[in-house]
Symmetry: C2
Subunit: 211 residues, 2 copies
């Protein structure tokens, strides 16, 4: 069965997955790179990185993934829809290596990149987007890549089978929070927490049987 | 030196330290007792309880404490100020066993209870309240007992030396959040996270030297 999975999704102690304002110069606003320093230090990210707990979680990101869904604000800074040459933050060879569906109210034509990534632009409900991505994933799983608005919408619609969050010990105070409107999630998911020697805490949400 | 400390302060994953509405029947609103189940299972709470990680943290609650400061909404349900017979939730022998200062805009006369607890009622700034409690603590530490409004106010005023939070894997969605307005707290505190086999995560904030 093809699952819907979230990986390496990093939040502050106060639940923000990005700071503000988002811009070309500062994709995560005042959060800078602090939400992802834990990941940059792993072998998953680069040679010489750590191979412990953080890396074990980080590496799951790409296993058995056949497609990704992301939000418009992960794909580019505010206003990217007005720039016909914008092809995402990631250069010619983006790290997705699968069909990648960008949810936006202003869709454009698909773009084939190097390394197996093709960006498709969809104006669709979360359920429709997941069905489309599943079809493209050829029997593999679909990653819900964020940002927080998209994560929240897919959780609220009951469309997430597994979620891995990484809680970073910083307080952002403002930005986009992942939690709003998700009370009682623990009734649908088994939640496990494990703190890492690096200082972050990994939270895994696994959908309960029958939920 | 007399420190200001917070212990066993329990929050949901989304940062709420109480649900809503608070009432005589449901002091924590829709949260019920879920924020404190981890503590009820420890030896600190009662015979036969666990003696592991959760208990080690829980027991620190009373060590070297000479006074407590709490908010009006921890002392009683909305409207308790209109009831001259209200003496708190805890019966004749409250679990504080020290002078205990209740911050309220409608102070009343002090009440001496059994077991060493005397309730004093203060309309004062956090700094003034801490000075008064310190004086009463006879050289020992002062516990900031909550609720979240009081914890937030004392943190914002820079009046907390040590804080122990317990993050419980539930999502409340509404209530009183402890985090609002506290960005960059990690610049003032060393933050350590340790997950417990019980499922909760203990977060300790220790003020950095010189902060
Ligand atoms: N912390 C992490 O691990 C992590 C992971 C990924 C991303 N991020 C960060 O999160 C931020 C972006 O998050 P965000 O919450 O602001 O936005 P987002 O979730 O990336 O995108 C939300 C936007 O996508 C479009 N959209 C969403 N659902 C749609 C639907 N069903 N149909 C059509 N369009 C839809 C809408 O944009 P339009 O109406 O403008 O088209 C919406 O405003 C960025 O800073 C990014 O770097 C963080
Ligand atoms: N999760 C935990 O571990 C934990 C721990 C303790 C309590 N709690 C729960 O938290 C809830 C109460 O929290 P809360 O945030 O609603 O309220 P709270 O922090 O207990 O009390 C806030 C109230 O105290 C009074 N007050 C605060 N500062 C004052 C000052 N400087 N001068 C005068 N009065 C002042 C004001 O009441 P008035 O203006 O009405 O006088 C204010 O509304 C309860 O449900 C309690 O059971 C949870």
């Amino acid at each position: 069965m093809s699952l819907s999975r979230i990986h390496n999704f990093s939040i502050s102690l106060d639940g923000f997955a990005t700071g503000e304002p988002q811009s070309l110069e500062a994709p995560f606003g005042h959060a800078g790179h602090r939400l992802h320093d834990w990941m940059f230090a792993t072998r998953f990210w680069g040679a010489g990185g750590s191979e412990g707990l953080d890396n074990a979680f980080a590496e799951r990101h790409s296993h058995s993934i056949g497609a990704e869904i992301m939000g418009a604000n992960k794909f580019g800074p505010p206003g990217w829809q007005d720039d016909p040459d914008w092809t995402g933050w990631w250069g010619p060879n983006p790290p997705f290596h699968t069909p990648t569906f960008v949810l936006t109210h202003r869709p454009r034509s698909s773009m084939e990149m190097e390394g197996g990534t093709t960006f498709h632009f969809l104006d669709a409900t979360p359920a429709e987007a997941l069905a489309t991505a599943r079809e493209a994933a050829g029997g593999q799983d679909v990653r819900i890549g964020g940002g927080p608005t998209v994560v929240r919408d897919f959780l609220a619609a009951g469309l997430v089978d597994h979620m891995h969050l990484v809680q970073v010990p910083i307080l952002l105070g403002r930005g986009v929070r992942v939690w709003d409107g998700l009370d009682s999630l623990e009734q649908t998911y088994d939640i496990e927490s494990v703190s890492s020697p690096s200082g972050v805490t990994h939270l895994t949400f696994t959908r309960k049987l029958g939920s």
